[in-house]
Symmetry: D2
Subunit: 255 residues, 4 copies
């Protein structure tokens, strides 16, 4: 998987295959001219336009990952990792897997001593995510479980649970069962109506430190003598909700 | 290091020491009542107010880390990790170390097979950062180098370099020497004047994919029947600048 | 009513009264030294600090108007005027009057040929607003009506109606009666829950072109060699809701 | 000039002419079916789709005004009016006229007792602006002056001056000559480089209360059970700069 970048900040991600050609409106580049080159090499198309061969970063891979589903953005992923306290050695549950973009980052961060349990009911999503994870050599760190979250999680006392589902408010008791006391819960939801329902559910199950926030990312025109924000931006991806589970709840349930 | 959290979303981070007391305006809590409790436990102060004993997360530790310097915020750190493509096994240079907040996250993410080289001229900052890193058990993953970046880096072909310095534009040739071809460069700067100078320097050294952006984080009032943004927010921490180094430059230097 | 501004961008608004003194931590200024000075004059306090005598602008008056109520901000007011199509000659209803900050702007813009009908149940607010309006010499352009909006408006076929009330969704039929066909409706609400209720009510009464938006205002440090956003900002004042009334509704009511 | 609005929040602004037809992909509407209808009336296309006949508001006219130039947005215009303290009776200079969108609002707000002096070197812009102003019946309130601002303004002691030009920093002495002491100055600039130059110029001419800000407008999906921000937004129109002129300067010039 390589990234071919033009000098005009446009980039293309594809796999190198001997004998093939890559066509852009700025000319043709032969895969054979790229194979064996160092990252950072400059290549010219048959029209004389300059391109650079680069290693694709997580952020770029993430935005070009093949997917049939709503993607999570790097601006949100990075912050979620911080807020869920994902560290080397962490045990984490996520649901749903989706195209596995977040799974890749979780698997990277938990390291060889941690583990990711990724739930998803759509088999085709799991197949796609598995391919993406295997490409990064992280297969050992992820268990893919094909099950509806309604039926609960197999794991107990995990460090963090993240629900990327349209109705996380229906599964808060399952979250509480899987999460260790004091563990970290997170979710991402596009509408205020969903957030409001989740707040009700989290309060009902005595979660504490409930926190809702929203991250905006604005790009600038990177020109030294005309430095200004670009004209348009993504206005919304989703609201992020975080909370901590506490023991108290379990006692009350015993009543 | 524990986190004592009141039910009103206020939290306090401190170390437990037998015989000591923790005083808040909602009453006194004895450390001995906390020692041995599970995370997530509910404790009452002598006035009957409820508190929870929690494990502090990276984000919270980060915002309470003792420091003599400008802090990097979780909203920025998470995104920088993504954009610099920091992964298990990555070799990363950062300068300066500051209080080591970002160092902690880098050391977590590079895992046991990666390494962080952290440059800083102020010895007292290195001492503070070493203490913070040791607290996380990540001492082996970080080399602290007490040197001015002007004199260059010892390392060659590292995967990423991040400069958290007021004048990164003065050190771009040093960055280019240390970074592998196609490697990832990043910086964070508070003023537009600094960004403009950095853009000039990056163009001069033929960096490509130069990207400037800004991340905003807005919190909401987490109350189900009064869901709305909070009244005030942090308006600015800094501009983030990213770029990739390419081989071409080195050829030109050879001329 | 004058504005005394220090060179450090701090300002004070007060009425000049012979014999009085104005005390700041940068020294004392005698009112008699200000009386008769031109706007723009520079005055020194007894400690030698510089101050400027200025005419207060609407925006500054607005933010220092004596009030017992939530204020509307200039960033919102200016845009509402545009979206409600307030012009010289416009007939406008507003409710509630509050401290009359918005009333002042409406009265200014409708000119001598337009009129503002301002409803409010709290008599003390009306008294305050009347004083503020009289100070601007615009008393003739505003009728203050002390009545609950639930009982409906006296006026028919007005050009625009703005509800600055916590429950505008309860008064949409009253709005429809007062507004001309095709007329402009607006409201400002702090919480998403209120907006959601208003959307339901507007749809029920067949309003069209329903539009919800939010305006953010970010200030910058106005220093040429350190140009950057200030550290903190107002994150939220309220959501703005706009809609147009159409005839169709009235036909349906006739059924 | 009418506005034909579909039920799907899409609108079209055009002049009614007997015998003509209006074609949309949702069917054809005959102008003769619209002529004589009340604003707010519902009309059906030949395909049975519903449309409403509405009076266009300033904000909508503004965004569809024929123009050959960068437009000023309602979000900025409304706030500028507030900050420049434009009121009935105000004497205001603006340069350049552009397509006259801001001129229209200024002329509306200054009322029959105020006046707008609008400078512009491109004759074709003045012709366009004159047509737009005449359409509103405000011709008497605006003087169009075809001259380069470098040569100075004819007027003295005006209440406010607004420069919508790429290089306002070159004309600050001209602004100071035209503006009354304590008067209001404003400008709108897209790049930080321009703002930085303007800050230098304003300081050099001893302007006080220099203020830079930026207004963001975010729209929401106006659906009661899916209330959320829309996906994309305008990220930047321009930075707004405000300042006050003071007498002191003139004294210094006398030295």
């Amino acid at each position: 998987m390589i990234e071919l970048a033009s000098t005009r900040s446009k980039y293309f991600i594809f796999e190198l295959k001997s004998g093939q050609e890559f066509h852009t409106h700025r000319g043709i580049v032969k895969h054979d001219d790229l194979i064996g080159c160092d990252y950072g090499s400059k290549i010219e198309s048959h029209k004389g336009s300059s391109f650079y061969l680069l290693q694709p970063g997580i952020a770029e891979l993430n935005s070009t990952t093949k997917r049939n589903t709503q993607i999570m953005y790097p601006k949100d992923i990075g912050y979620i990792i911080m807020r869920l306290n994902i560290l080397p050695g962490s045990q984490v549950i996520e649901a749903g897997t989706g195209s596995g973009g977040f799974t890749q980052v979780l698997a990277s961060v938990v390291g060889s001593t941690g583990h990711v349990f990724s739930y998803e009911i759509r088999e085709e999503m799991h197949n796609l995510a598995k391919k993406n994870i295997s490409r990064l050599g992280l297969t050992d760190r992820v268990s893919f479980i094909g099950r509806n979250v309604r039926e609960g999680f197999d794991e107990r006392n995990v460090d963090a649970i993240f629900l990327d589902l349209p109705n996380p408010y229906d599964y808060i008791s399952q979250v509480q069962e899987g999460l260790k006391s004091g563990g970290f819960f997170g979710s991402l939801l596009p509408t205020t109506n969903q957030v409001i329902k989740l707040l009700v559910a989290l309060e009902r199950y005595n979660f504490v430190f409930i926190d809702v926030c929203e991250i905006s990312l604005r790009f600038f025109q990177a020109i030294a003598n005309k430095f200004r924000p670009v004209d348009r931006m993504v206005a919304h991806t989703g609201y992020l909700i975080f909370a901590r589970s506490v023991i108290e709840k379990k006692d009350e349930e015993a009543d």
